[in-house]
């Protein structure tokens, strides 16, 4: 059984990569994919730290994280479909103006 | 070397190689032969009988044909994904075999080996997870073909596979609730052990929950894109599906993957509902028997169950016409899912009262089936009916028009 630190580091790297993607990409769907990557990093971290504390609470928490991710994905995709219908583009910058 | 082979790890590797190369690939090839034979018999024909005695070398000839055909890649496709899709679907259809318990335990010397490639805690979930990945081969193939019809085929197939995963999961949940474990080998041995009910019925789950068995069989057909759910590849009326742009060996891989899916699904159903390698009154297929001959017997028994189910799948294919897409979706969402939700509630209630292995289970199954049929017979939207909610495509009679009733 390997240790915890390396999993935390890998999780942090995944989280940061997701952050980079969210900040730098302009396609709405890729931005949401980036948040999902951040979720994966958090998941790895939660399970690793949960192991550190010697229980399965970390994994249970990870399961609830999955639920949140599913909820987020469903709503986000609904929103994206709606936005795409309104403007015909997936560009996030198309929605930067504060008027519908 | 012998020590390595008789350790569980080495034995698993050897078993994986044997099952994969010696059993699955040939039987996938011969599935096609038997499919053609059975279709011929049902249609009063003779079927393939030219290549070799009784046409038994036909799969070899088919394979050679796939190899020798021109491996054509259309110019407009997305090449990396186009090449990856057949590989994805083929690999995914084969890795599911790892968790199937083929033959209980095998005593070699003083070691007791499990005749199973991998024995994860979550063998059942593993198979579902792998099956849920199969949809990627379809989607990627359809999208990478850069062809409207291929993409529509992929969308149809994906919607179908995702929809039918829900009743499949509910069927499996019923089994899990009854058995109390996710390990496939434990599920098998639980069904194999114990007394016979009423003196002669083995404790197979199919006798506890026959309705779940039937629904799982139906969803397995849908997951493998078999008739009557093969809209993904309907050539006659929908100009094919996700593989219209594929040729030669790449098409062959899609083709073989369908049969590999059928075999996986059949093995899975055999383990969950038909007692796996267990056969009543045969002393070699009881859990206690661990000799070489017993293991061979057990493998033959589970193989026979798989073959029987494959036969039924082929028989159904040449009997029932294809569903229309709205009928397919209505069957899943309006019939199977409510029915299986009721089954799920039934299983929970039986488990709560500790009656989950009593005669109340099949009685409850019959009750639910009857209730579903009663509702279905009174439904305004029968599965066989015309597509609803499209009134504008019907020609309503006008005031001056002839009365249709008299005209007919």
């Amino acid at each position: 059984m390997a240790g915890v630190t390396e999993y935390v580091i890998v999780g942090a790297a995944l989280f940061a990569l997701g952050l980079v993607g969210f900040l730098s990409r302009r396609n709405l769907i890729v931005m949401f994919l980036s948040t999902e990557i951040m979720f994966q990093g958090v998941l790895v971290n939660v399970v690793a730290v949960g192991r550190l504390h010697g229980g399965l609470e970390g994994q249970a928490f990870g399961l609830f994280l999955l639920v949140i991710a599913a909820v987020e994905a469903g709503l986000a995709l609904g929103l994206i479909v709606l936005l795409f219908r309104r403007r015909g583009t997936l560009d996030a910058d198309a929605w930067s103006a504060m008027r519908g | 070397m012998w020590d390595f082979l008789t350790s569980q790890f080495g034995f698993s590797i050897a078993l994986a190689a044997f099952i994969m190369l010696g059993v699955i690939l040939p039987s996938v090839a011969y599935c096609i032969y038997f499919e053609r034979k059975i279709s011929a018999w049902i249609q009063d024909r003779k079927g393939p009988n030219r290549v070799g005695p009784l046409g038994l070398l036909q799969p070899v000839a088919d394979g050679a044909k796939f190899f020798l055909k021109e491996d054509f890649i259309p110019g407009h496709v997305d090449k990396p994904l186009f090449l990856a899709a057949p590989a994805i679907i083929f690999i995914v259809s084969l890795v599911g075999f790892a968790a199937i318990p083929w033959g209980g335990q095998w005593q070699i010397g003083d070691k007791l080996l499990e005749v199973q490639v991998a024995r994860p805690d979550i063998g059942l979930l593993y198979i579902i997870g792998v099956a849920s990945m199969a949809v990627y081969g379809v989607v990627v193939g359809g999208w990478a073909s850069n062809n409207k019809f291929a993409f529509f085929g992929a969308i149809r197939a994906t919607a179908q596979m995702i929809s039918y995963e829900i009743p499949m999961g509910l069927c499996i949940l019923v089994v899990v609730l009854t058995m109390g474990t996710l390990r496939l080998e434990t599920i098998t041995s639980l069904q194999a052990g114990g007394e016979y009910w009423i003196g002669f019925i083995p404790q197979w789950n199919v006798f506890l929950h026959p309705l779940a068995f039937v629904v799982l069989f139906i969803t397995a057909l849908a997951e493998a894109n078999r008739m009557p759910f093969d809209l993904a590849e309907a050539e006659q009326e929908l100009v094919g599906g996700y593989h219209v742009e594929y040729s030669a060996l790449k098409f062959g891989m899609f083709f073989l993957a369908e049969y590999a899916h059928m075999i996986t699904g059949s093995a899975f159903i055999a383990v969950l509902f038909l007692g796996g390698w267990h056969f009543p009154y045969l002393p070699w297929t009881q859990p206690e028997a661990t000799g070489f001959f017993a293991v061979m017997c057990k493998m033959a028994v589970i193989g026979g169950k798989i073959v029987a189910m494959l036969f039924v799948m082929m028989w159904i294919r040449w009997t029932i016409p294809r569903f229309r897409f709205d009928q397919l979706m209505r069957l899943a969402w309006l019939r199977l899912i409510p029915m299986m939700l009721a089954m799920f509630v039934l299983a929970v209630l039986l488990l709560y009262f500790r009656l989950h292995r009593s005669a109340l289970a099949p009685a409850g199954n019959l009750l639910i089936l009857g209730a579903t049929l009663w509702i279905a017979a009174r439904s305004t939207a029968p599965i066989t009916g015309r597509q609803l909610n499209m009134p504008e495509i019907r020609n309503e009679p006008t005031q001056t028009g002839a009365m249709p009733a008299e005209a007919v």
């Binding site: - | 018999w41 009063d44 024909r45 159904i316 009997t319 049929l373 029968p382 002839a402 249709p404």
Partner: protein, 197 residues
């Protein structure tokens, strides 16, 4: 614009309870197919093993590959009158006529090519022929490796006659349906073909 009285509304048939449930229908279908399967396994099927067994065609209606007949002296019976190539709707007969070396006719075909790939096997040529020189036999295994091989010349057509000399092609107006309908092509003279066997 379709007139309203031309529109025929066909109502969807009312389904019986069994049909609405779908399951009894499926079981019935499965019973039928397994019956056929059992029948195929126990009794022989209707399939004919083609290259070994030949299909018996119905001689009174079947029109296969053509032949060029010989007369009683063994010469080609054709007089190169071009009736057949004129009558041919598919335009598949090519004749080159030459002065006949024999006394009883003026012309004979130097070349007689028949493109079997263009031919639609309508039988007009044999109806048109004034001397019954071209006829359609009952041979159906007409194959070739190239398109050129499927263009039969005079020698090949005569060879087919030699092969099928016992064969009596069917040219009965009762069956071809020309007699009595009043719209029989006038170009085709009445021929008294051999009666059907």
């Amino acid at each position: 614009m379709i007139k309203d009285e031309d529109i025929l509304n066909i109502e969807e048939p009312v389904l019986s309870a069994a049909e609405r449930l779908y399951i009894p229908q499926i079981l019935g279908g499965l019973k039928i197919t397994i019956g056929h399967l059992a029948k195929s396994l126990t009794k022989s099927t209707v399939t004919i093993q083609y290259p070994e067994e030949k299909l018996e065609v119905r001689k009174e209606v079947y029109r296969g590959v053509h032949r060029l007949n010989r007369d009683e002296n063994g010469r080609v019976a054709c007089v190169a009158c071009f009736m057949c190539s004129t009558a041919c709707p598919a335009d598949c007969i090519h004749i080159e006529a030459g002065d006949s070396p024999w006394d009883d006719r003026e012309k004979y075909p130097i070349k007689f090519d028949l493109d079997e790939l263009r031919c639609i096997f309508c039988g007009m040529c044999e109806e048109a022929c004034p001397v019954d020189a071209i006829e359609l036999t009952h041979e159906y295994d007409l194959v070739g490796r190239t398109r050129e091989q499927m263009i039969l010349d005079k020698e090949e057509l005569l060879a087919i006659y030699d092969r099928t000399v016992q064969d009596k092609p069917r040219k009965n107006p009762r069956i071809t349906g020309y007699a009595g309908t009043g719209n029989r092509p006038s170009a085709a003279p009445k021929t008294d073909g051999p009666e059907a066997s």
